[in-house]
Amino acid sequence: MNRKRSSRLRKYRKQIFAGIVLILGLAVLGLLAWVFYLDRQITAQFEGRRWTLPAQVYAEPTELYVGQAFGADALERELKRLGYQRVSTPRQPGSYSRNGERIELITRRFRFWDALQAPQELILTTRGDAIETMRNGRGEDVPIFRLDPLLIGSIFPIHGEDRVVVAPDEVSQLLPAALKVVEDRDFDEHIGVDFSAIARAAWVNLRAGQIEQGGSTLTQQLVKSYFLDNRRTFGRKIEEAIMAMLLEVHFSKQDLMNAYINEIYLGQDGARAIHGFGLASQFYFGKPLAELQLHEEALLVAMVRGPSYYDPRRHPDRAKARRNLVLDLMKQHGVLDAKAAAAAAKRPLGVVNSGANAGGYYPAFLDLVRRTLRRDYREEDLTEAGLRIFSTLNPYVQSQAEQALAQELERLDKAREPKTGRKLEGVVVVASPQNGEVVALIGGRQASYNGFNRALDAKRSIGSLVKPVIYLAAIESGLYHAASIVEDGPVEVKLSNAQTWRPQNISHEYYGPVPLVRALAQSMNLATVRLGLEVGLDKVTRQFVALGLPREPPQLPSVLLGAVDVSPLEVAQLYTPFANSGFSTPLRAVRSVVDADGQPLKSFALEVTPVSDPAAVYQVNRMLLEVMEHGSGRPARAWLPPGLTVAGKTGTSSDYRDSWFAGFSGSHLAVVWIGYDDNSPTGLTGSSGSLAVWARLMASIGTSSWSAPLPEGLKEVSIEFPTGLAARPDCGVDVISIAAPEQAQIPAAPGCEVGVFDSLGERARRWWRGFSR
């Protein structure tokens, strides 16, 4: 039997052997095909990543010039915000020294859209709240200088990976050295996988009974990061190891190290994943990687092992202990001398706050940037092509706006019945009216939350914010001026559906005959509806479009009381011609876009278009000043600096669902909205809600007074605010000053005619008024 079998075996030996060879051959082929497949995959990934650069967005650069409103403290704050390092004698770009009122700095090299700016030494002196002199290193006066702008974020792909890619020459020698010491000591020698390290790790882990040490090389970590796969299966590990070896075949150690530095995950900021040391440096320290000091670099290296476990903001002690371990390892392996390591270990973590400071994140504004550019670029161009975008954001105004909104919302929430549990939402839009630049934008209560962008997408009823539009239409018609009398009494309008519309004042009172200026200042509904109907609904709705609303509201009487759904950004656009003497300028968030090589691709140039008679706008603006002095905007005075002239209008939608305020100074136009997302009543008027946010904001950003020269064909007239009768400033009740057409005949208040001698009675009245105050 044995012989039989062996003979049979012998008989089939050839076939068996052939079979085995065939199977082996197929296996080898399969393996080769698999390796080939992995090779294609990993090289494509590597090459692809190398060029996947999210567009970087910069804030507006700060201009320095003599007379600029920067005291020494404010200037130092600004430099700190930009991550400039205070030293005793500045020698490196990005450093400064301060001696009382004298600040010396060396600026960073920066490529603006219109010029490359080389590093320059600047010596500034300040006096009080302004820059007094500015000279360069050779003692010559410098008339104006642009600081490098703050990097405020990037347009990263939907999956949330954000990075700021750095070139090898922007990375200090220490960083790769530290990474090798801490993560992969044999990086320079191994072939992608370090078998001795795996054995060592296995031994350590076996003895500890848990995973204490990983044997992954930097190359393996890189592969793992490319595929965002945390499955720890054996097959996955093999695949990873093969890919790592393949990468080593194709690319130099230097390339791999650079890819690692730009790839590795270093933290989370909401939906945004912080990848690479370039962005991590901005995110944690608010300055470029090239300027990091030893202890800062060591912290980033320390975080590679576990960005959330060692998050220096949430777990400072843990992060510091590991940072010091990194420093110690660097010393042990001769990367650092003992003195430097010991000095660095004594330093604090030095991490900047996320949010208001550098490294802050402005999702609502970036959303506006993204939407602006989406008209001209494909999504992939924005997220991959390495564009540099120069935006209009002013980080200081933005942080003041965030603060003003947060404080007021908290106060308002506390003041209402606590049971509801709902939270008020708010929006702030700030623009410079003359050039249409959006300098701050908040899309919701949590300014850093990337979600529903109310500033752009919440179309809400704007209530009395429509009134200036109606009054402008009235004055442009030539039939009215600020002292014209209009009746604030019952109004009935027959609607097309056979119903009757009976609007009411908020107070449910009638004020009788009132001058236009008072009707607007005190936001009288009935007087306004009457005026709007007299002027003509079609004229009013067309006026909205002329001023910049993208679509004409329906020609319904309710439009006169603000039943128009408009987003806060559109309100800002609508108010721009008021703040800009009758000229419209498209609101913009981007100044310029350049490609990865610094070539300008597109600029959004300043454009203005006359949309309304400047003299008519001027007359309405003078009335809007009275809103702040005698009307619904008056409570703002509690916050505003005395002597600051501003104009504005409150808005309250029906049932108190929306609280609005829109207004402007000489240099800023701001719109504030407060309400609930589900459109339920808030119990707030524009005056009791949004006004305070607006006023706090305006008080904190050093804005300038509104002023404009009296246009030709107009005259200054003093009238009594309640009656609209002309009166000398020293006579009559609540005398205010308005602008009216030269030919306007305004009846005088009895006894107060201009030019009439001061009568005894008048003197008595003045005495009495002085007394009663």
């Binding site: 201009e63 010039y65 003599v66 007379g67 600029q68 859209w113 219109d114 010029a115 010559e140 006066d141 008339p143 104006i144 642009r146 410079s432 003359q434 050039n435 630049e437 003497s581 009758g582 000229f583 100044r591 310029s592 300008p600 600029s603 140039a605 300043l606 454009e607 203005v608 278009t609 006359p610 400047p614 000489g666 240099s667 002023s707 404009a708 020269p709 009296l710 246009p711 030709e712």
Partner: protein
Amino acid sequence: MTKDGSMRAHIVLLSTMALALSACAIQEPRQTPAPQPTPTPPQPQTPVETRPGSPPTTVEEPQPLPPTIREPVLSPASRALVGQAQTQLASKNFAVAASSIERAIRIEPDNPLLWIELGKVRQAEGNYVQAENMARRAVAMSAATPKVQAQAWGLIAESYRARGRTAEAMEAQARADAVR
């Protein structure tokens, strides 16, 4: 833009530039841009120093006006930027020139001289509508300052002429001359 129009625009541009450059040379020696060898050769390569009768545009000089009227002047920072813009304009770098003036406008948004300068850049690049609009913006902010207003109306007239709207150009020119 017709050839004729472009030529005319060019002449106007170069002469205003010459004015402003010479003005700069007086005010701000450090900022003096070397007279640029303009790439296009046509006639108005007149020496930069010659100064025709009308006063230069952006210079503050003792104004022969009653003391109550204070004509606007440029701050040193704006002056430097306008000088820079004029150099950039000389090399036909319109976008960059406009961007320099926009920087100045951010510093002094209420200075009509800057809006006129921006209008000149627009005029030079053939954007006559924006040239006119910028000038009108300047008019709206210079009700009390006749000299600047005259300049602005002059630019409006120029922009109409470039578009072949002769009647409106003459009307605007009349307004310019009336304030002078």
